[in-house]
């Protein structure tokens, strides 16, 4: 069970993001199609970056019991794309929130 700790932490964090998104209509609850494309595109960009980092021997998977151990490639655990998608979603939410504050000032 402890192997799911990282995924669970990401899920809880993402859950909080969804609540904020829903309450203030920041990203997916405002422009679902755009947000999906943005997260997907950012994920591909990050994964390409990861692959370069892994193939040049810079990034190494850590020795930890907090991950499932499922590997998508050398040094690339299942959790990595989940985290990267989360980072992209977080960015959309923060940008959406600040953009929303800007609109309120303008009103």
């Amino acid at each position: 069970m402890i192997g799911f700790a990282y995924l669970a932490a990401l899920a809880v964090s993402a859950g909080g993001m969804v609540v904020l998104d829903w309450r203030y209509r920041l990203a997916f609850f405002r422009r679902p199609g755009f947000s999906a494309l943005a997260v997907l595109g950012m994920l591909v960009f990050f994964l390409a970056w990861d692959v370069v980092g892994i193939s040049t021997g810079i990034f190494l998977r850590g020795e930890t019991e907090f991950m499932t151990g499922v590997m998508l490639g050398p040094e690339l655990p299942l959790e990595e794309p989940v985290f990267l998608a989360f980072l992209a979603y977080l960015t959309l939410d923060v940008a959406g929130l600040l953009n929303r504050l800007g609109r309120r000032d303008a009103a």
């Binding site: 990282y6 405002r30 422009r31 755009f34 943005a38 950012m42 960009f45 990050f46 390409a48 970056w49 370069v52 980092g53 040049t56 021997g57 810079i58 990034f59 190494l60 998977r61 850590g62 020795e63 930890t64 907090f66 991950m67 959790e79 980072l87 992209a88 977080l90 960015t91 959309l92 923060v94 940008a95 959406g96 600040l98 953009n99 800007g102 609109r103 000032d105 303008a106 009103a107």
Partner: protein, 142 residues
């Protein structure tokens, strides 16, 4: 091959998105350039702060590590400063797309901001009045 070297092309692409967004900002139906940079700077700052906290937690948990020879060795706690570049790229790409990306003019209809007034004015062919109203609102804001 160092961590900084592989980051450079990815950061340049991200900076390209930011330049593109900054050029688009201020066009009819899009937020002002001032607001673009405000959201851009704010999002960058928030992400860097979150990265400083959570990247350290993640490295302390042993989720990932780095080969010592390839990183600059400058660390903030456990975190190599190079790790900030992922957050920078996310902000520098996604803020321009969110604030000044395509489809914004259509989305502006849901807003009651000056940008949508101007957009509506242009559509109705009363761009003079719409622009004047927008300028008044813009002045009132600052």
């Amino acid at each position: 091959m160092t961590y900084w070297l592989i980051n450079l092309p990815f950061l340049l692409v991200a900076a390209g998105f930011t330049g593109w967004g900054a050029l688009r900002a201020g066009r009819p139906g899009l937020p002002s350039r001032k607001r673009f940079w405000a959201v851009w700077g704010g999002t960058t700052a928030v992400l860097l702060a979150l990265t400083a906290v959570f990247d350290n937690i993640m490295i302390a948990s042993g989720l990932f590590t780095y080969s010592e020879g390839n990183i600059s060795g400058i660390r903030l706690g456990l975190m190599p400063v190079e790790d900030f570049t992922y957050s920078l790229a996310a902000a520098w790409i996604l803020v321009p797309l969110t604030v000044a990306g395509p489809g914004r003019a259509g989305a502006a209809g849901a807003e009651a901001g000056p940008a949508s007034c101007e957009e509506a004015g242009r559509r109705l062919g009363i761009s003079e009045a719409g622009t004047a109203a927008t300028e008044r609102t813009e002045r009132g804001r600052t």
